[in-house]
Symmetry: D2
Subunit: 147 residues, 4 copies
């Protein structure tokens, strides 16, 4: 149940593998079965009307669960998302960063499942709820696959 990477190692690794977007995402907190991540909201994350776009929220939830899996499984992990469900609950604030609070519900041999509540920073009411399932490569495999 131990972490394979701590918060600093995880942040460094995300920087390496997502060079284009690593500045968008910040690891705020990390435990053995939870992670909190921040989306630094910028113009490209907004949609007409000035709220955070659906694809940006999808990206944040997806990265959060992926980072959680990496923190437990280590750098070699080549997990791919196989399923996602999303409930959009309230209008996000366009002028606030978005915070993802993720719980790891399962880390099995071939599947990992995490769920996420998304908040506009400074609000207690979630703007969205998401679940992400990742397919994990078999031990010894060098390649990601979709199961």
């Amino acid at each position: 149940m131990a972490l394979a990477m701590n918060r600093d190692e995880l942040s460094q690794y995300l920087k390496e593998v997502f060079p284009q977007v690593h500045k968008d995402f910040v690891v705020e907190d990390l435990t053995e079965d939870s992670i909190t991540m921040r989306l630094v909201v910028q113009d490209q994350h907004l949609r007409p009307g000035g709220t955070v776009s659906g694809p940006s929220m999808f990206g944040l939830a997806d990265v959060s669960v992926y980072a959680m899996v990496l923190a437990r499984k280590g750098r070699q992990s080549l997990a791919v998302t196989t399923n996602s469900s999303f409930d959009f609950l309230r209008k996000p604030e366009g002028g606030a960063d978005m915070i993802a609070a993720c719980r790891l519900l399962k880390l099995g041999k071939t599947l990992a499942v995490g769920d996420v509540l998304l908040y506009s920073e400074g609000s207690d009411l979630p703007v969205a709820r998401a679940t992400m399932t990742y397919s994990l490569p078999p031990a010894g495999s060098a390649a990601a696959n979709f199961g």
Copy 2:
């Protein structure tokens, strides 16, 4: 944010509207934004192999969110389920009751959303995660509808 029914009133009401199955479900705890319910697992809830069946877990999650909405909106509520997502995480114990821990994430004018973790009693690891969305009848309407 107050409850329209307390735990006893809610239990009594479920007995009236679900005469066939009310003995299957017990309201264990109720707050303004959460409910804990028990499925008293019996033979008809099991599938071959002796674990709790998918339809039984679906029913428990669905009743839990419905009961939460009733507790807040009151007896006249004619909510219908419009969406459900389910992640089955682990094998349930066939010989244990199933406990649903439900959070109310949103109670709007036309939609209510709750999510649920399901546990085999005595275990800390969830066997499933579910979200249910209910469509609420417009104020003054006498009939349930699917939106």
Copy 3:
């Protein structure tokens, strides 16, 4: 891409593995990547108000995708449902059988995905849409698992 069981073999096998409920479900049609199944609607499938219950619809969608996987993978398959999403669209007719039209979208090494439209017999408008993901046991494994 060939079927491992034809319609008669599949029907016979469902009878063996689901002795309690096999009379509820009829395989109406089977191709290499689709199956049509009928739920013979009886009192136990109804909920107050006389419509088909959510758990009954869940069960029909789940059995349909499972039967499709069996038809392709053969009797030894020990697949378990790991994910489900459901959209309830319209009120089903309580007095009509329910028909599930299932497409197999993916049959991988470890995951199979099928989606389903549910109809009240005699109507062209779907009452629900569902997707089911099954985790398949690794080749040579004797036991079902949740990934």
Copy 4:
């Protein structure tokens, strides 16, 4: 059941409301209950490894169902996404456009539901399946809401 906008009117309207991204999306075909849309895949839609990113696929599915609702309800529609489910089935081709084939399953007073198969152009096997639910503003209302 008639369309409120034909394909040209819809394309023109998407150009007005999505000035930043309208060149990414092309309406290929439109009927009363289906739409085919193309994502013109460019660098910003890719993720490391050269395949189309999850957020880009989410965006395409979301725009497709939104465009379908607009085509039926007309320009005044202020629908917002309330729910999404996604199954990622295969690795998309990074060098091919992505095609979304969307069916409108329901267009009610307050909710619309469409499902979508996503393909890399030139392939018959779907890379993903998605469902999107939109909350529609009540007749006479000037504002979008989350229900």
